[in-house]
């Protein structure tokens, strides 16, 4: 360990230079390469859309509306069609010149967009760009395009469902009408059952209550049961059609209400600096400098095959080390550094014999 510390202090100015200059260069690079980014943010109020009362599998009941809508927006952004729709509504469409440029722009869009719930219903959509106007346009375009996509999706789903249920309703209506007509015909043919009046058909419950009558008129019971079942089927399909028509009409209005802008994105006036982008190059340069110094100390120590101290010499030599003669040198000062010449060392050695006479008793 002593050898490594000795090596560090032998080259301390080099190592200190590296430890100071490399982080400074890293900081310089960080400030120079720092992009001036403008961030625009829009906040949106998210609610569960009314049309999802029928098709609710797209909506996680465990997440908040803000989280659900945030996930949806993020998913839409991963599609090229949605992202290109967004870009085409902004000044960034000028960048969509070549396939490569388009891919770069799409990647930048996905990288620079932030969709994050800030509450149960509140959703923040942010975008950073070097052009403040583009930042505002992208956020606005995302909100608009998302609304349009959701509306279009809901509308198409409702149309298909409505066509299906309307056909079912028509069939059920025909069957109900036929069953009613057959019952009326039977009652007309048997006036004794209604005492000659064309009153309302006898209820099944009444016939069931009168077991002997039902046993005597099984055909009538069957007609009444058919008519009742057909009417129930017609009612069911009518309800479905009504619900779809309601959701279709509410989708046009309801989407806007479930994803409505609270704070519209504005063109940012001032640029924001990213502390992370500043600190990362500085941190990397500091680590690189430390690695350089550490590696340099280890390498120089391993390459140094000389003996520098008596302790190290004693460890590495098989023979004893009697003494270590210190280097006779005046203390280093910042403005001058004086060394004894070999001749003066020997002169001093010769004069050493007279040291007491030179220095006197007190020395």
């Amino acid at each position: 360990m002593e050898r490594y510390v000795e090596t560090f202090f032998r080259f301390k100015w080099l190592f200190l230079f590296v430890l100071v200059v490399v982080p400074l260069l890293g900081a310089f690079y960080a400030f120079e390469s720092q992009l001036v980014l403008f961030t625009s943010t829009g906040t949106v109020w998210a609610e569960k859309p009314a049309y999802l009362t029928i098709a609710s599998t797209d909506w996680s009941q465990w997440d908040t509306p803000a989280q659900n809508q945030a996930n949806n927006v993020q998913e839409f952004l991963q599609t090229n069609s949605f992202a290109l729709d967004v870009l085409n509504q902004t000044d960034l469409r000028a960048n969509l010149t070549t396939p490569l440029a388009t891919q770069v722009t799409l990647a930048k869009l996905r990288r620079s967009v932030s969709v994050s719930p800030v509450g149960t219903h509140l959703l923040a959509i942010s975008y950073s760009d070097q052009q403040p106007r583009a930042a505002q346009q992208v956020v606005q375009a995302i909100i608009d395009t998302f609304n349009k996509e959701v509306l279009s999706s809901a509308d198409s789903q409702n149309s298909v469902a409505l066509a299906f249920y309307q056909k079912q309703l028509a069939d059920a209506t025909t069957q109900a009408n036929d069953a009613t007509a057959a019952l009326r015909s039977y009652l007309t043919a048997h006036p004794e059952l209604t005492n000659g009046s064309a009153g309302p058909p006898v209820q099944v419950s009444q016939l069931v209550a009168n077991a002997s009558f039902a046993a005597q008129n099984p055909e009538l019971v069957k007609l009444i049961q058919d008519q009742t079942a057909a009417a129930a089927e017609q009612t069911k399909f009518q309800n479905s059609v009504d619900q779809i028509e309601f959701s279709q009409s509410s989708a046009a209005v309801g989407t806007a209400q479930s994803f409505r802008i609270m704070d519209a994105p504005v063109v940012p006036k001032t640029a924001q600096t990213s502390k992370k982008k500043l600190l990362v190059p500085i941190g990397i340069s500091v680590v690189a400098a430390l690695l350089f110094v550490g590696g340099g100390v280890i390498l120089l120590t391993l390459l140094d095959s000389t003996l520098r101290t008596a302790r190290v010499a004693g460890q590495r030599l098989a023979v004893p080390v009697f003494v270590a003669v210190p280097l006779l040198k005046e203390r280093r000062s910042w403005f001058r550094r004086r060394r004894y010449s070999r001749r003066s060392v020997r002169t001093l050695l010769a004069l050493e014999a007279h040291l007491p006479e030179l220095t006197g008793p007190s020395a």
């Binding site: 000795e6 000389t306 520098r308 101290t309 004893p320 009697f322 003494v323 010769a350 006479e357 030179l358």
Partner: protein, 253 residues
């Protein structure tokens, strides 16, 4: 015997009467000129540190001294510039002063002798001339008057250095020196640049291997140690050690 021409204060020659101790010289000299010992307090602290270090060096590395034995000690290093001569000189001074014995420092690095040059002494005559019987030993010795240390520089290098270093004359000379001096210190050539280090180390009672901190690679130190005569290596002296770790942090290790 020549006296070391360094005018030590209070010892001999033209020396100032009293040493001057200046805490902060207005313009500190690049090196301390010989004969004008002006020191800052920090320099004096450095000297005291060296004094302690060399005392510790012979106390741990040369325990026979305390038993009164006579020693021939070699000082070498793996390569040049590791502080071999400085260590030998400092060791000689410390032993001579503390043990009150006579010490002889002999320079045997003929390839690049430095002792005389660094101390502003005449390069010759030296041991080369003495072994060649060109001069008397007394004429080649330099004496530090204050502390019973004699210096014998290499002198003029002969053509056949190896023959000289492996000669019986050198062995006989060292035997004689052992009789005259309690401690003889040999400033040996670097172990990896001289092929004579093994026979030379064999002439000693022990060798101290000087290693420059932060300069000499470990593999060179191990190769140098392997070149010495068997069981002659006493230990390692680490020179020029200076830890860069601050004092407050060094306490943790």
């Amino acid at each position: 015997m020549a006296v070391l021409p360094i005018p030590f204060p209070g010892v001999s020659g033209d020396v100032p009467a009293a040493p001057a101790v200046v805490s902060k010289p207005s313009r500190p000299p690049r090196s301390v000129p010989i004969g004008t010992p002006v020191y800052t307090r920090r320099e004096l602290a450095g000297l005291r540190t060296l004094d302690t270090v060399f005392r510790e060096m012979y106390t741990i590395g040369l325990p026979e001294l305390d038993a009164g034995e006579r020693l021939v000690v070699g000082v070498t290093s793996a390569i040049r510039g590791e502080g071999r001569t400085t260590t030998g000189l400092g060791l000689a001074l410390a032993i001579a002063r503390d043990q009150d014995v006579h010490v002889l420092l002999i320079e045997l690095d003929f390839e690049r002798p430095s002792l005389a040059r660094e101390l502003n002494l005449p390069a010759s005559p030296g041991i080369a001339e003495v072994l060649a019987q060109e001069v008397e030993l007394d004429a080649a010795l330099r004496h530090i008057d204050a502390c019973a240390v004699d210096l014998l520089p290499a002198g003029k290098a002969p053509k056949a250095v190896s023959r000289l270093l492996r000669s019986a004359a050198l062995r006989d000379f060292l035997t004689a020196a052992r009789g005259s001096y309690e401690v003889v210190i040999l400033d040996l050539p670097p172990a990896l640049t001289s092929s004579d280090i093994m026979p030379l180390s064999g002439l000693t009672d022990g060798v101290l291997l000087v290693v420059r901190a932060g300069v000499t690679p470990l593999r060179l130190i191990e190769r140098a140690a392997a070149r010495l005569a068997e069981d002659k290596l006493r230990g390692v002296v680490l020179t020029g050690q200076r830890s860069k770790i601050p004092n407050w942090l060094r306490r943790l290790f």
